[in-house]
Amino acid sequence: MVVFDKPHALIDVPLHYCPGCTHGIIHRLVAEVIDELGIEGKTIGIAPVGCSVMAYNYFNCDMIEAAHGRAPAVATGVKRADPENHIVFTYQGDGDLASIGMAETVHAAARNENITVIFINNAIYGMTGGQMAPTSLPGQVTQTSPYGRDTKHCGFPIKVCEMLSELEGPEYLERVTVNSVKNIRTAKKAIKKAFQNQIDGKGFSLVEVISSCPTNWGMTPQAALKWIDDKMIPYYPLGVYKDRSAEKEAE
């Protein structure tokens, strides 16, 4: 009896991510969901610019590497090319989705584009060596906020789920994290729902995953997972921010 196996949608190669990084967990969750829904053969994934830029080497489905921040626009094109037969997801970090690509994010959500967005929020630019992100916490020390993020000087972090929930467009917005087994299970449910919504034609579904970056946070992996509980979640509360179908049913 097989009790543990690698998902088919994940290619059996070493990942380039740093030790203790949660990208590996989230990749696996996405791949498990693709397997369980039986959609690998019709799925096209869009990788961002950032730490997960090479995600195209890890997912077994067709993959596209987009320009920085433009994944939702590229996804729009792929989806519209064949709406009946394409399942399209983007996998984007906070710099990609909430800074340089904010316009593409907001408008894809406003159009209720029938795509799935996996949004990795680790409050830092990882790939380039730990600069301040649009989601870096007030006071957070980064390479480009060496004295801590001064909100008087460079403003406040952007809470993406809260912001998008004000739009009429999007179908589903949920914030999860992956710093414990329990939280990983909840995260997987959310990711699965975000893909199922697309299959059902419901529209724009975004799952924000609060993640850790031990390397650029300057912590051990364990301390980084604890920092999520202590610092990130109080600022970015977990939960469902929009679920239009559920709201309709409740009415």
């Binding site: 096209i44 433009r70 626009a73 519209r80 037969n85």
Partner: protein, 354 residues
Amino acid sequence: MADKVLMKGNEAIAEAAIIAGCRHYFGYPITPQTEVAAYMAKKMPKIGGCFLQAESEIAAINMVYGVSSAGKRVMTSSSSPGISLKGEGLSYLAGSDLPALVVNVQRGGPGLGGIQPSQSDYFQATRGGGHGDYHMIVLAPASVQEMAELTVKGFDLADKYRMTSMILADGTMGQMMEPVSLDFDIKPAPEKPWATTGTKLEREHNIVNSLSLVPEELEMLNMKRYERYKQVEENETMYEEYMVDDADIVIAAFGIAARVSKNAVNEARKQGIKAGLIRPITLWPFPKAPFERAVEHAKAFISVELSMGQMIEDVKLATSCKVPVTLCNRVGGMIPSPEQVLKSIIEVNNGGVE
């Protein structure tokens, strides 16, 4: 022969694209190309196509990137400032070897500039427009008929060479109306086994990508791409020659400037000056051959442009600066008159006699 219809240049591009099998258009409003989008907005929903007004030029070109990745014919159109915004996407399309058709109905610049006709995006178009080593196939129509024909041709070339074809028109070409025949011989698009359309679990996954972190590999990709560009230069260069065979004074001009120049050439001939015209139809690849031939008998060349002198550099290169090349131009949305061009021909001709 099919009937001709009276159409605006911008509309002719849109209709020709649909005839060529394009069912996806993404754009953002900007003068003087807006009729392309308006035409598509009206037509696409009725033929099962997709017109989508994007949130920006940047989004539009990336939507183009997405549809092209999925193997379908796709286009966007804009005018000069909007094309600058698309520059990033044009570079990525080239880096990922994706076919696309991009229309630039040029207006005066730089910056926000004006909304009247211009040819001042010649450098941007023929040198790529974005970052990195790459080219686009740049097509320069000089009539509404050519707006349509070169659109169809542009899709074919884009698919054949996995490149972006750019229609480099100007506000005059976009706005003027002429009779046009839309009777085209449409070739089916080639197979695209590289497209990301889902593996169906029947093949290895396809990856559309422009990232290559190993220098030796990235060098090889660039070399291979330029081998393909060489084929384009050898096989796809287009131009028109008008009274060049015995010409002393040869004008180089494209688009609206070529039409004006043709009148001036006719008038010069009436006055006994042996003038001729070379009209590049592909601006990249630039038609060097007719210039190499003409420089053997011409006393001088005149580059007539709606810019401060951009194509003139290619004319000088193609003629190896063996004889003088002068500029006759207007800018900012102004168009040289036939009289101005004739005056320039007479001056250059007299200068040559001395």
